[in-house]
């Protein structure tokens, strides 16, 4: 086929030369290339009475269309032949092919014909034709979404099909057209579970993913009891030793509650839930990685904790596969190891890294190893890491250093070992390695302030030996930052540095100046002369950056009669509390995406992604899945039927049978029935009948009890949720929660019923509103649930109390049906909780709405030091101080919880504080800038005192009320 390469070039653009399908010999394509001739040829073939010729012609047309070529002139010929004749052909393969051709024609006028053909094919005798009908559904849907309702009817019908051939294709159509119609699955659930093992591989993946979602809406969380226990201890490792005692207490409480719950009503798994788990398990042995992954994610999301372990072995097996498969599997394993570390621990060595692995695989394996590290295996892992440090792949070495840093933060026992190891790396020749180690050491030191001095002393000694400028600079920064912890050594380091100043690199020089400035501010007695000496040297440095810096710093720290207002704030500028960096796995919390999905891999919602729902608090009625047993099947009792299903073998345990059978058919009596029989079964059994034997199974008392239990569970769940929030945010971070926390409360502005499909929610984003600093930023979230587009969304007729102002958001010109968008508006509430009333207008309607701020949103955080706080507080006594005694909520007795609750209730920032019995917060009102100070002093047994100091007494009183509520509930 010598001409084929020439052909290939033409494929890209020109269509003037013949397609290979037309001329049988590609080389002759040019000769017979006239359109007329071509189509004649195909038409003739379609008209022929030979099956093979018809099939051939249609295949070519499909191929042509699939490549995006215009086949519209063939349209009448195809429709004439296909729609009218071939669709009634006695040969099922011809019928199927005809439908495939018809459904591939992307012309809207054909929609009604296509619809008819699909409907007809959906009740065809041949399962193969029905499969083709299922395939045609998404095609028609993408051509004309208006047909959705009719197509859903067809899907419903095909879902009831009992052959394996159809199952995969129809579920695929279901997922594309109407994934939200979970109710269509009820009646077919058990059948799908039972057919699953015999469905072709690709269909298995689709069905398993869909059933995972289904199960999440219909069954109860099998780990409801365990997950309560897990949260307190193992799951989330907190970095702070101080919490551990409290955690234990909490755990005990929880345990008590749980056991109380368990006594009342133990969790019993729905038999249908069990059926799904049991029938998917053998598929972990599939050769198809996608199937294995689908089962693995199903187990991860649905199985009781004790059973999830089975997937580990299968996933580890996939690591032997192609590197792309490894890549995806490792991503998912990384997410799983955060929640369920124990599961992969036995396979630790399977994640060891080989020098031949591609870098992206190496880094993922490293992630998994880090997640798996615990007290018992850390020494093995660190030994392994040591060899990685010597790798030639420098990106990988850098990642290893970060991994060591994370191990050190998570496992207290090895912190010193890791630090020592990292310090040694500072003398590595590779700049990247040094830089990375320094960064990690810095992070580690910032995280545990109480242990600073030892390590900083050690680092100080290293300045004599380490020559890499980057490392020297970092060490100097550390000494300066924590100079109060090493009061004797710091001045001495400065002395040495002053001596060598002229020989240092520029970045080191800058840090020497920084160190000098910080020391001057804290210990001017000892370092005044040294600082002046350093500044003088810097003044005449060759580098202008250094000269500038020296000049700038001198102005700031050395008070002269001319020095400006800034020098007052010198200490605040230099010694501000810097946030400790967070060393967290990038895979934390990724499991809110369904595992194995594209969205999970990208950690962003991909188009068409179906959210994995949360477990329901109480199980919906299980009887919806009951299917009436057709009379002609002799087994009437459900038990018997089920038994048979359970034993239903993999395709061919029906040993005696010969020839092609519909073995997958779940109806036991169908045996080797011919297709026509199975069709008649379908039409004969009204599968959507509601009658069932066991709908009355559960008596009412039990139901009541169950409800109560569910309620309790819900409460616990909520508590857990808040707990989780607390343990996630480190206090050091929340100090400067100027950025909004993720837990912003949403308020409803317009309900979708009143809004006729338009729903609006708003929250106080706590971000500075840039057009006007005196305004509170209100972030509005518009969702158009209606079927028509909404246009010209804007604000009108603003009614405000005097002094209040509103900055409207820019008009939203178009909000298409089903879409959502956000906009930000600014409101100056004048430090009052008066509502801002206005009309929200669309192109057709106006809605009266109002925004009323909680008092906590009328302020913004300010940064104060402990001393300043005390000073300001002393000026706001008497009338301006309001104190209340309270008993803290049982879940809110540690520092984290208090900080979390206060900062959630009010937009305040935390003020550092020496005593661990007190939490202090500071803020300013948005409009007038009056200080708002809050103090929570804890006493024994949950007693506490809340003090708020504020010039504006109204604000103060209201804030006290809100905070009391937040802390006691």
């Amino acid at each position: 086929m010598s001409a084929s390469s020439a052909f290939n070039d033409e494929k890209g653009g020109s269509s003037s030369v013949g397609e290979p399908e037309y001329g049988h010999d590609p080389a002759s394509g040019g000769i017979f290339s006239s359109d007329y001739k071509r189509h004649d040829d195909l038409k003739e073939m379609l008209d022929s009475n030979k099956d093979a010729l018809k099939l051939e012609a249609m295949k070519r047309i499909v191929a042509m269309i699939a490549r995006g070529k215009n086949a519209s002139d063939l349209f009448p010929a195809v429709v004439k032949n296909v729609a009218c004749k071939n669709i009634e052909d006695p040969n099922q393969l011809i019928r199927a092919s005809a439908l495939r051709v018809l459904s591939s024609i992307r012309v809207t006028i054909i929609v009604p014909i296509m619809m008819l053909a699909i409907k007809e094919a959906a009740s065809d005798m041949s399962p193969y034709v029905r499969k083709t009908a299922a395939h045609a559904i998404p095609k028609l849907y993408s051509l004309d979404p208006e047909q959705k309702d009719q197509l859903i009817e067809v899907i419903e019908k095909l879902l009831a099909d009992k052959t394996t051939l159809v199952a995969g294709s129809v579920v695929m159509a279901f997922e594309e057209v109407c994934p939200e119609r979970i109710d269509l699955i009820h009646k077919n659930y058990r059948k799908l579970c039972n057919l699953l093992i015999d469905v072709e591989e690709w269909g298995q993946v689709v069905i398993i993913n869909m059933l995972t979602r289904y199960a999440r809406t219909q069954f109860l969380n099998p780990n409801i009891n365990e997950s309560l226990l897990e949260e307190g201890g193992g799951g989330d490792k907190t970095f702070y030793c101080s919490d551990e005692d409290e955690d234990e207490d909490e755990e005990k409480e929880k345990q008590a509650e749980v056991s109380a719950l368990a006594k009342r009503k133990p969790y019993v798994m729905d038999p249908d839930h069990r059926l799904l788990l049991r029938n998917t398990k053998p598929l972990l042995q599939s050769r198809n990685a996608a199937v294995v992954m689908a089962v693995a994610q199903l187990y991860f999301h649905l199985a009781p904790k004790a059973e999830v372990g089975v997937i580990a072995k299968a996933l580890v097996r996939l690591l032997r596969s192609h590197s792309e498969v490894q890549f995806v599997v490792l991503q998912n394993v990384a997410t799983m190891t955060i929640k369920r570390r124990g599961m992969f621990e036995p396979y630790l060595k399977s994640f060891y890294i080989r020098s031949t692995d591609p870098t992206q695989i190496k880094i993922l394996k490293l992630e998994v190893l880090t997640n798996l590290a615990n007290e018992t295996n850390i020494s093995t892992i660190l030994r392994e890491f040591q060899t990685y440090i010597k790798s030639m792949d420098k990106d990988f070495v850098a990642a290893t250093i970060q991994a060591i840093g994370r191990c050190a933060t998570n496992i207290g026992e090895v912190r010193d070992t890791c630090l020592n190891g990292l310090v040694q790396l500072l003398s590595n020749r590779d700049e990247l390695v040094v830089a990375e180690s320094v960064v990690v050491i810095k992070k580690l030191l910032q995280m545990q302030p109480e242990k600073h001095s030892d390590i900083i002393k050690h680092m100080a000694k290293l300045t004599d030996n380490i020559q890499v400028p980057m490392a020297r600079a970092s060490i100097l920064w550390l000494i300066g930052e924590y100079c109060e912890h090493v009061p004797k050594i710091a001045p001495d380091v400065l002395r040495k540095m002053a001596k060598s100043f002229t020989n240092e690199e520029d970045i080191v020089k800058l840090q020497i100046i920084n160190l000098a400035a910080k020391l001057y501010l804290t210990n001017s007695k000892q370092t005044k002369l040294l600082t002046q000496y350093v500044l003088n040297l810097a003044k005449y440095d060759q580098n202008y950056d250094i000269r500038d810096r020296a000049r700038f710093i001198r102005q700031l720290i050395v008070p002269t009669e001319k020095s400006g207002a800034l020098s007052k704030y010198a200490k605040k500028l230099f010694l501000a509390l810097k946030p400790a960096p967070v060393l967290e796995s990038p895979f934390k919390d990724r499991d809110h995406f369904q595992l194995g999905s594209l969205s999970h891999l990208l950690n962003a919602k991909a188009g068409g992604y179906q959210e994995l729902p949360d477990w329901p608090e109480s199980a919906p009625d299980p009887s919806v899945r009951n299917v009436e047993v057709p009379e002609w099947t002799k087994c009437s009792s459900r038990e018997k039927r089920k038994e048979k299903k359970v034993e239903k073998p993999f395709y061919s345990d029906s040993e005696g049978e010969s020839g092609p059978t519909e073995s997958a058919d779940s109806e036991p009596d169908t045996g080797s029935g011919s297709e026509s029989v199975s069709v008649s079964v379908e039409s004969g059994s009204p599968s959507d009948s509601e009658e069932s034997e066991e709908s009355s199974e559960s008596d009412e008392d039990e139901e009541e009890e169950e409800k109560e239990k569910k309620k309790k569970k819900k409460e616990i769940k909520q508590m857990q949720a808040s707990e989780r929030l607390v343990s996630r945010s480190k206090p050091d971070v929340s100090f400067q929660t100027i950025a909004p926390s993720s837990a912003l409360k949403n308020y409803e502005l317009l309900h979708r019923i009143t809004g006729e499909g338009l729903s609006v929610e708003y929250c106080f984003s706590r971000q500075a509103f840039s057009p006007d600093a005196n305004m509170v930023a209100v972030q509005m979230h518009f969702t158009n649930n209606a079927t028509s587009d909404t246009k010209n969304l804007h604000i009108e007729d603003v009614k405000l109390q005097s002094g209040m102002r509103v900055k409207e958001f820019a008009e939203i010109e178009l909000l298409p049906a089903g879409e959502a968008t956000t906009a930000v508006m600014g409101v100056d509430f004048c430090d009052s909780t008066q509502a801002a009333n206005f009309q929200l207008c669309t192109h057709t309607r106006k809605f009266f709405v109002s925004i009323q701020p909680p008092v906590g949103e009328l302020m913004r955080p300010v940064f104060l030091t402990e001393n300043e706080f005390k000073k300001e507080q002393s000026q706001l006594m008497g009338m301006n101080e309001i104190s209340e005694n309270l008993t803290l909520d049982a879940k809110c007795r540690n520092e984290h919880a208090i900080v979390q609750r206060v900062t959630t209730a009010a937009n305040l920032s935390r003020v550092p504080c020496g005593s661990d019995k007190e939490c202090r917060f500071a803020g300013k009102t948005v409009t007038s800038g009056s200080l708002v100070l809050a103090t929570v002093a804890t006493k024994d047994e949950g007693a506490a005192q809340l003090t708020v100091n504020c010039e504006k007494m109204v604000i103060g009183t209201m804030l006290v009320k809100d905070l009391l509520l937040a802390l006691t509930q």
Binding site: S4, A66, R106, A290, K349, R354, Q360, F650, E662
Partner: protein, 418 residues
């Protein structure tokens, strides 16, 4: 699901494109090329790339990137697995899967792709079904087609798609009925500096070539099935039977296929067939390094170790290597710094060694890194785990087939750290 497919060669040219829905412009591949430029090695291109309107999922096989264009949520492994299946099919049809082979058979390639996906959803991926639909090209058929103007599209209707054993085509006839099974085991190991094993495991596969008339039903049993810790099967294997009796019972596809892959339980000690004595050193201040490597057989159960190939990535600072092999040949690529030594067979009486010096960049300090040594080898007539097939029986057909079983052990990812 899968919208389009682009085939990109090593030099970054798109040499084939196929669209299952509407046409997606080639320019979407620019995002892929960008990622390709960013990656230092070809295998470091991320398999999943997100672009403003599409997602690109790619696999790299035989130095060809198969780039699938996706528009909405689909499990990435689904696409990756499918793409690998496409490559396997091409390989099955054309013997090799190279750019040249694809270009030579462009018509068959399009026909195959058309049958494998319908509207982006996999339709027929079983090799047996495909071969019924589209005949693999042979020299004779190509000639006949050229002269008579017919195509490779099968004349008969593809009845296999309707069967419950979709992996087996119907009406198979052979004059010589034969069934061959290859038990191939690979040792994955990491050996540390001092020669002790850090991790070692055995992964095995049983590949079959079955050419039997009619609908044979085979059972294969092992002497020691408990060795198999984790298995994955071709869909033809009856899972229940394996669970209950540890017997492989199946109606085989026609032709070549992988019956089973397995993992040998890690409780069993893995025999390491070779040892390596190495001394690779760089001295501070000297522009020379020593390289000294000796191989020897360890636990081989008396079988010869053959086809030994040693490769090692030397540090970047190494300019050249001047070595002396006691047997075989070695090459050193000064650009990639890859040292390979084709040893051949290990003679236990006279152990192969490779000794000499490496020259380093003058003035450069001694490299921090230690190279790792990768070893490939083969041992015939032995499965290192000790797995043995007990018997193979055929039911359902009357004739007596010819049966053969072959064992082999290979090194998989076998690394020695220095």
């Amino acid at each position: 699901m899968i919208h389009s497919l682009f085939l990109v060669n090593a030099s970054g040219d798109i040499f084939l494109e196929k669209h299952w829905k509407s046409v997606v412009s080639r320019s979407v591949c620019d995002y892929f090329f960008e990622a390709q430029e960013r990656a230092t090695e070809p295998e470091n291109v991320p398999p999943v790339i997100s672009t403003p309107h599409h997602y690109l999922i790619s696999v790299l096989r035989h130095r060809i990137y198969f780039v699938a264009v996706i528009q909405s949520e689909v499990p990435p492994l689904f696409v990756i697995e499918f793409l690998h299946r496409v490559v396997d099919t091409f390989q099955d049809y054309f013997g090799v899967c190279t750019e040249a082979a694809i270009k030579d058979n462009v018509v068959v390639v399009y026909e195959l792709l058309e049958e494998m996906l319908d509207n982006g959803f996999p339709l027929a991926t079983e090799s047996n079904i495909l071969k019924e639909l589209i005949k693999p090209p042979t020299i004779l058929r190509t000639m006949v087609n050229t002269i008579t103007g017919s195509t490779n599209v099968g004349e008969q209707l593809p009845t296999g798609q309707l069967s419950v054993v979709p992996w087996r085509r119907t009406g198979v006839k052979y004059t010589n009925n034969e069934a061959y099974f290859d038990v191939v085991e690979e040792i994955d190991a990491i050996i540390d500096k001092s020669g002790s094993t850090i991790t070692a495991e055995i992964q095995g596969v049983i590949d079959a070539c079955v050419k039997l008339t009619g609908m044979p039903d085979l059972t294969l049993s092992f002497m020691n099935p408990r060795l198999l810790d984790d298995v994955s099967f071709h869909p033809c294997v009856r899972f229940k039977r394996w669970e209950a009796e540890r017997i492989l019972s199946f109606i085989p596809p026609d032709g070549n296929f992988r019956l089973l892959s397995y993992h040998v339980s890690s409780q069993n000690l893995v025999a390491i067939p070779v040892y390596v004595k190495h001394n690779i050193t760089f001295r501070e201040g000297s522009s020379q390094g020593r390289f000294d490597l000796t191989l020897g057989p360890k636990q081989t159960m008396g079988k010869a170790v053959e086809a030994v190939l040693v490769s090692s990535q030397l540090p970047r600072g190494v300019l050249n290597a001047n070595l002396n092999p006691s047997q075989g040949t070695y090459t050193f690529d000064p650009v990639t710094k890859l040292l390979t030594w084709d040893v051949g067979k290990i003679n236990p009486q006279k152990l192969p060694s490779l000794k000499g010096t490496m020259s380093l960049q003058a003035g450069a300090s001694k490299p921090d890194e230690n190279p790792t040594i990768n070893i490939q080898l083969k041992i015939q007539q032995m499965a290192i785990s000790g797995l043995k097939v007990n018997r193979l029986d055929m039911y359902g057909e009357k004739y007596k087939p010819f049966k053969g079983i072959k064992y082999m052990t290979k090194a998989g990812k076998f690394q020695v750290r220095t």
